[in-house]
């Protein structure tokens, strides 16, 4: 038996849902996060680990984080590879294509109406970052406000949408 790895693999199973949730926010999709966390499992089970880990949970995170950075680097190197990765993932996961998951037209109209009703600054921050694809820093610059103010607006926008969408 691989005694050194057993504990960390056990911890992995416990933390797996948290890790997927954590990385899904950063990677923009739960599928990409699932994929990363699966790769983490393979990495953990095929690597010699230190006999003693003072913070195994942080160790899990760091290993996953490094895998993610490796991935993002590889993707930047080749867009083609990126596409291949996505296609393979869609094929493997057997999950519905993004198009299938699109909510109804009514849902879109509702979202649009809610965004329209937002206070002006919140709407502008939301529009620039979420719809135009600017980073938080770029949004802050465009609106001439601080980065933390942008974060507050975006966070308030998501809360508002969550509260009213149903």
């Amino acid at each position: 038996m691989v005694a050194a790895n057993t504990d960390i693999l056990q911890l992995y199973l416990e933390k797996r849902p948290s890790l997927v949730r954590f990385f899904a926010a950063r990677l923009g999709s739960s599928e990409a996060a699932e994929d990363l966390v699966q790769e983490l499992y393979l990495k953990l089970s095929s690597t010699e680990l230190p006999a003693v880990l003072d913070n195994p949970s942080a160790f899990l995170y760091r290993t996953a984080h490094n895998l993610m950075l490796d991935r993002l680097r590889q993707e930047r190197r080749s867009l083609q590879r990126d596409n291949a990765w996505h296609e393979t993932r869609a094929l493997h996961a057997g999950e519905p294509a993004v198009d299938d998951a699109l909510a109804s037209r009514r849902r879109l109209l509702r979202l649009a109406a809610l965004v329209e009703e937002m206070p002006a600054k919140m709407r502008e921050a939301f529009r620039l970052q979420k719809l135009e694809g600017l980073t938080q820093a770029e949004t802050a610059k465009a609106m001439n406000i601080s980065v933390s103010a942008v974060e507050k607006h975006i966070s308030a926008a998501l809360k508002l949408l969550l509260r009213k969408i149903d």
Partner: protein
């Protein structure tokens, strides 16, 4: 602010904090402990994240609407003949929606009645003065009752929940959702939603067992042995997403599951191998890769021959 809204507010803050490239180890540790604080936390986070990602998918369409708002109600005109026919019985207008889903409007005037059969086989009877819309997509069946009264006879389709929105309430037509697994003489039932009762065909053989969400029962057919446990139902349902998830299950179960997925027979070398306990996640891509990963996750060797693939336990002593 009620508690539910408070959870949503915290969840939204987490989504925004974690999507940022600056999120690091301290955020992970704090997030992990927040998730564990209440079962409501993961659920609220999942809702917030799903909405966040949904907005991304809608971004191009939303952008157009936000930049140049259109009139709120715009539907392509039906042809003259069909419109006239529709008017005689109430109105039915069809409109293409994004992602191939169509929105149908049903309208009756005072004193008029209409019945409609939806594409999924569900029936709706509309009373007079009723206005409702129906959107059937691959993943959901959405009805909005703007005004009036209607009787719904919903076709059974577990893959597409049927949701009726009316004012500030929604009515969800739910069934139970459960997984039944039978491989040889091993039978198990796992419930994700609702309540399921498992009882012997012959009532003299024992009492019914009632399973609630998260309950699993393992039974050996032909015996009286049944073992109840509480599981993560999502693990059991993972096969639908192309994954198998095990927590301390016998390898014989893993092998039986894999044999249901791949044509080339997989077998264990001996009883000792079959009895090994296995914990792990297996992504079902191709059989060779799956077996390879299996040998990485557990102390196993594998060999393949004409008749299939054999896995065996490595000696307990380190090599």
């Amino acid at each position: 602010m009620d508690q539910h809204q408070e959870f949503d507010a915290q969840a939204a803050s987490w989504v925004i904090r974690l999507q940022d490239a600056a999120a690091g180890e301290a955020d992970w540790l704090a997030f992990d402990s927040w998730l564990a604080q209440s079962p409501e936390h993961p659920a609220a986070y999942d809702r917030a994240l799903a909405l966040w990602h949904e907005i991304d998918r809608h971004a191009p369409a939303l952008k157009k609407r936000i930049a140049a708002p259109r009139p709120r109600r715009y539907w392509p005109l039906a042809t003259g003949a069909s419109l006239a026919a529709a008017l005689a019985l109430g109105w039915v207008l069809h409109s293409g929606g994004p992602g191939g889903s169509a929105v149908d409007l049903y309208r009756t005037t005072t004193g008029q009645r209409m019945n409609a059969t939806l594409a999924d086989g569900s029936h709706i009877d509309l009373s007079g003065g009723t206005h409702l819309s129906v959107a059937l997509s691959a993943t959901e069946r959405d009805v909005t009752l703007e005004e009036g009264e209607a009787i719904f006879d919903v076709a059974h389709d577990t893959a597409r929940p049927f949701i009726i929105a009316a004012g500030d309430r929604k009515i969800r037509v739910v069934g139970t959702e459960f997984d039944v697994r039978r491989r040889g003489d091993d039978l198990s039932v796992t419930v994700r939603r609702g309540v399921v009762e498992v009882s012997p065909l012959d009532p003299a053989q024992g009492q019914p067992v009632r399973l609630m969400a998260g309950d699993r029962i393992d039974h050996r057919i032909g015996t009286e042995v049944s073992h109840a446990s509480t599981v993560s139902a999502d693990d059991v349902f993972a096969w639908r997403g192309g994954r198998l998830v095990y927590r301390d299950r016998p390898l014989s179960e893993v092998i039986a599951d894999l044999n249901a997925q791949f044509p080339r027979p997989l077998s264990s070398a001996d009883r000792k191998t079959a009895d090994l306990r296995f914990s792990g996640v297996l992504v079902l891509d191709d059989e060779d890769s799956v077996v390879h990963r299996l040998t990485l996750l557990a102390p196993l060797w594998s060999t393949s021959n004409q008749s299939g693939i054999v896995v065996g336990a490595k000696d307990a002593a380190p090599q």
